[in-house]
Symmetry: C2
Subunit: 164 residues, 2 copies
Amino acid sequence: MIHIQPFKEKHWAATWQIIEPTFRAGETYVFSPEITATDAHRIWVEMPAATFVAVDGNNAVLGTYYIKPNQPALGSHVCNCGYIVAENARGKGIASEMCTHSQLEAIARGFRAMQYNLVVSTNKGAVRLWKRHGFKVIGTLPEAFRHPRLGFVDALVMYKQLET
Amino acid sequence: MIHIQPFKEKHWAATWQIIEPTFRAGETYVFSPEITATDAHRIWVEMPAATFVAVDGNNAVLGTYYIKPNQPALGSHVCNCGYIVAENARGKGIASEMCTHSQLEAIARGFRAMQYNLVVSTNKGAVRLWKRHGFKVIGTLPEAFRHPRLGFVDALVMYKQLET
């Protein structure tokens, strides 16, 4: 049983433990694989409008996501989210639960759409999951992501208009 | 005769005079129509990697553009630019000259592609011009821009791979 709740600073150590390996791997997010905990905290916790954690029955943090406006003022009705699930907790539907939660959160905050600016095309699981959640591939950015193993690979812009 | 040169602080008053009406109109950029000069300076001059001005033979500033990485580390080989021409100097090819200049500047700085994240679909002149410069419409973001007169309108993601 997963419970999704607002991030509190007490969750930071566990959250960093989840997001650090993902950033270090450099296969799905644009952030530097050498990012510091301080910079990651700024990006994941301080800059977004809100951050959430998915915890299990023992209060272990298994996933996290942030939500923020994707653009300033005249584009601020479209939000952007980022999701990361702990490596040892993948394949259990936690990303899907966070995606659903984020859409409801987005609607509650008055957003009219959600945009993923750069979904790495080789991240097939994510592309499939977002499609299942009703996101459309708006277009493909040729070689927009520098993959550490595969070199320059395409990235997708994905978008969903929310029921408001 | 237009000469495009690096922005210096002595150009700020003239640059602000050019970009202020565009931001106030709110029809082409996402920035708040109530933006302050301080915030505009931060966005146009401080945050980008570089800013340029297009000046005429009398050293009057007629246009300006910025260039910056569109994403952090693993996406930082794609740049983003913004261009504004003085209202009374439009239709003279200054935007086109700045676009050409920015592509050469991008290549010199090692960028492999240029991306415009949010070209307002009603800004037909800009869409036509970028297409003429080899930019492709990657996709259309439905109702991603809140236009002050027209309400929610579509925005285009445009992209060009540069000859490197």
